[in-house]
């Protein structure tokens, strides 16, 4: 130990700032005699900043920063892309003090279950303190990606005013802003290349925001606004598309009808990604009997199109329009398209190159069988329910899942909503699709067993964790006993994200997971019978995790408090999901906890108690 400390202090000495500062390279005419051969590890230190130019992945960067103090400093000076997985884990000030040259930031806020209205709307994750700090310290910022953050119009205005070189704004599942904020971004960010609004909740301020892009040619490469639920000024949009020669990705909202889509496609045949908008005619066009535009040739002219989405209010009669592009498609999103098996088949039979496919369960098992027969290169499949209620009929089942597993052996990721499932089908998938990285099976009815054998779904999920060696994300459902969780703990060694809903039968189940899944980063559990003793079994691991969410489980406030006392670097939030003041005596509605360098946050609303 003593020896180690000596070495450590030596290291500290050598890591003096002069080793890292700008001009370390001797110039010409250096006098030979002055030169001293460097220590082997100093050789690298002298050129470390140069080495780091070639290291971009955040995992590598994080590893480098932990090697020793001098590497830490060199890394901090050269990191240009920043990823922050939880906006409350570090404060903006700590970030801007450490990293000085940041050009791109990704920042995440609320936990995923916020999407299901499980937490109060005013919970937090405000962008305001971040944009204030970054506006001051990161004038060179070019890219910003926010996920589940609360963004105000003022924040967007400050953003537009703060970063003169700003080029890319991506907002995913964000809320709090409206079209007037978008108008400012459009108007002031003159070099904007990317404006992607994905599943955001945008207020309609009744402002013609698309007209706010400046006159003249734009730099736009990607423009995605399919989530913006407001009518748009189509003339302005058409002009914008016409003066955006670099535009490659365009996703329209449902207020753009198919006739308007036609006009846009004629202007932008260079598109590679297209969200079609409504994919139905305007009411006037539908009533009139004037001649329809030649949609087929408009699609045929888009020779670069590889990714197609939209179809938000589809009239299936128009589907033949997309046939000409199907052979090139690698990604097709029908998750808003209420079409039946026959209609899907007419399209899918052309889609030989498809790698990503999202679809509604209205296509039934029969539709999925057609996908399995054609799409041999499929990597990702998502099947969403048209009726998500617990006792809906559920048009897809184990039959569709088995067909997919047999036809699509390259599958890496699946999200599958259904009502009826069997262990045999899930086991078949675990055997047929060994490359699965993501397996999310949602059996919507609570506690449903294998619908043929009536047994719990334990063996199916067990096979997935046993046979799919690359699995990092798992969502379980249906009737599950502790056995399923023991399999997950024993075999799910790479699982980073686990979602549990309406499952498990005792504390033991969760203990298996917390003791076994050493890579677990994110654990979200709802409506499951896990209590304080299960929670305590994870003490050794919570500092390693990004967060733990438990709602409607069997936790007591006292149990949560004990965790908070034993792990002081953990922020333990107890939340009343209704947004009311927590009144219930000892029963915890929602537990959300995460590690943080900063301790309890100061912006918690009244419905949140930090223990």
């Amino acid at each position: 130990m003593a020896e180690d400390q000596t070495l450590m202090s030596e290291d500290d000495e050598r890591a003096s700032p002069s080793d890292l500062g700008g001009d370390t390279k001797p110039r010409g005419c250096a006098v030979a005699g002055e030169y001293v051969s460097p220590f082997p590890d100093q050789v690298l230190e002298n050129v470390l900043e140069n080495v780091l130019l070639f290291l971009t992945s955040r995992r590598d960067r994080n590893a480098v920063s932990l090697v020793c103090k001098s590497w830490y400093r060199a890394e901090a000076l050269t990191r240009s892309e920043l990823f922050i997985g939880n906006c409350y884990a570090v404060a903006p000030r700590r970030v801007t003090e450490r990293f000085r040259q940041v050009r791109a930031v990704t920042l995440k806020g609320k936990p995923r279950f916020a999407d299901f209205n499980l937490m109060p709307h005013n919970w937090g994750a405000h962008f305001a303190p971040w944009v204030t700090a970054m506006g001051y310290h990161y004038r060179a910022l070019e890219k910003l990606c926010l996920k589940r953050m609360s963004v105000k119009d003022e924040d967007l205005e400050l953003l537009a005013d703060s970063f003169p070189y700003f080029k890319e704004l991506v907002l995913v599942c964000c809320d709090g802003f409206g079209t007037s904020g978008l108008a400012v971004i459009a108007n002031k960010c003159r070099q904007l290349r990317v404006l992607d609004l994905i599943e955001d909740e945008v207020t309609d301020d009744e402002i013609d925001w698309i007209s706010c892009f400046p006159e003249g040619e734009t730099c736009l490469e990607s423009f995605i606004f399919d989530c913006v639920e407001c009518p748009i000024d189509f003339e302005a949009l058409e002009q914008l598309v016409a003066r955006s020669p670099s535009l490659k990705k365009l996703r329209l909202n449902r207020f753009v009808n198919i006739g308007q889509l036609y006009r846009l496609m004629i202007r932008a045949p260079q598109l590679t990604h297209l969200g079609t908008g409504s994919f139905s005619p305007s009411e006037i066009a539908a009533q009139g009997d004037h001649q329809e535009p030649d949609y087929v040739s408009a699609f045929a002219a888009c020779k670069s199109l590889v990714c197609l989405s939209g179809f938000r209010e589809i009239i299936p009669d128009y589907l033949p329009a997309i046939y000409p592009v199907c052979a090139n498609l690698t990604s097709l999103n029908f998750s808003y398209a209420n079409i039946n098996a026959e209609q899907l088949k007419s399209v899918i039979c052309h889609c030989l190159k498809l790698q990503i496919f999202w679809v509604l369960d209205s296509v039934c098992d029969e539709g999925l069988q057609a996908v399995a027969a054609t799409c041999k290169d499929l990597r990702e499949l998502r099947v969403f329910p048209i009726d998500a209620s617990e006792d809906s009929e559920g048009p897809v089942s184990d039959v569709g899942l088995r067909a997919i597993s047999e036809g699509c052996n390259k599958l890496q990721s699946i999200l599958y909503f259904c009502q009826r499932m069997t262990n045999a089908a899930v086991i078949a998938m675990s055997n047929n699709c060994p490359d699965l990285v993501v397996f999310r099976l949602c059996i919507m009815g609570r506690h449903r067993p294998d619908h043929i054998t009536e047994e719990p779904m334990d063996e199916g999920f067990g096979a997935i964790v046993k046979n799919c060696k690359k699995l990092t994300r798992l969502a379980v459902s249906g009737l599950l006993t502790d056995k399923a969780f023991s399999y997950i703990g024993e075999y799910g060694k790479l699982v980073r994200t686990l979602s549990v809903a309406f499952a498990g039968d005792s504390d033991t189940g969760l203990k298996y997971v917390l003791e076994g899944c050493s890579m677990l980063q994110k654990l979200e559990i709802r409506d499951s019978p896990f209590g304080d003793s299960a929670l305590h079994s994870g003490l050794h691991h919570y500092y390693n995790m990004r967060f733990l969410w438990m709602s409607s489980c069997r936790l007591t406030r006292q149990g949560c408090k004990e965790i908070a006392q034993q792990l002081p670097r953990l922020v333990v939030e107890v939340i009343n999901g209704d947004g009311e003041v927590e009144v219930k005596d000892d029963c915890v509605d929602i537990l959300y906890m995460y590690r943080s360098l900063e301790g309890p946050r100061s912006d918690a609303p009244i419905s949140v108690t930090i223990l």
């Binding site: 130990m1 180690d4 400390q5 070495l7 450590m8 290291d11 390279k25 001797p26 110039r27 010409g28 005419c29 250096a30 030979a32 030169y35 051969s37 460097p38 082997p40 590890d41 050789v43 690298l44 002298n46 050129v47 140069n50 080495v51 780091l52 130019l53 070639f54 290291l55 992945s57 955040r58 995992r59 590598d60 960067r61 994080n62 590893a63 480098v64 920063s65 932990l66 090697v67 020793c68 103090k69 830490y72 920043l82 990823f83 922050i84 997985g85 939880n86 884990a89 570090v90 700590r94 450490r98 390693n544 990004r546 670097r569 590690r595 943080s596 360098l597």
Partner: protein, 155 residues
């Protein structure tokens, strides 16, 4: 010897006294040498202290290739670079030192990129063992704890 030297040629003398005759255009790919030539503080023979003949030969080989292949396909040059830098750690470090102190940008970049490739995907522990050569960091001091914390949150 220098009197019989062809025009536009220079002699580089390694730390162990060996001399290399190289075209000036190649030699001045080292900024340090270029500065000496421009400042006219060099005769035709330029000493290259702290770089032995073995390493100097390698540096010259690299520079010659890069000088000749301006017209060549970039991919060929890339292949050459990645093969060139693929050496044992000792030679690699000597080359880095030479490239750094003689300021040969292309070579330094190629070498640094190679080191970056060696770091990619490795754990902190492995990086320490490979590049620092000792394992003292197995014991975390309180000073360093917050860094560990911090970095988990950038992951």
């Amino acid at each position: 010897m220098s009197s019989s030297l062809e025009k536009n040629m220079l002699i580089l003398r390694s730390s162990d006294g060996e001399e290399f005759i190289v075209p000036e255009v190649v030699a001045v790919m080292s900024k340090a040498i270029k500065n000496m030539v421009e400042d006219e503080c060099a005769s035709n023979t330029i000493p290259v202290p702290n770089v032995d003949a073995n390493i100097l030969a390698m540096v010259i080989e690299f520079c010659k290739k890069h000088d000749e292949s301006e017209a060549e396909a970039a991919s060929d040059l890339k292949t050459f670079d990645s093969e060139f830098v693929n050496r044992g750690q000792e030679a690699l470090y000597d080359l880095i030192t030479a490239a750094n102190f003689r300021d040969v940008k292309e070579l330094l970049d190629a070498l640094c990129q190679n080191v970056a490739e060696m770091i990619k995907g490795k754990s902190v522990h492995h990086i320490r063992i490979q590049f620092l050569g000792y394992q003292l960091f197995e014991i975390l001091t309180s000073n360093f704890i917050w860094n560990i914390w911090c970095d988990r949150d950038f992951d």
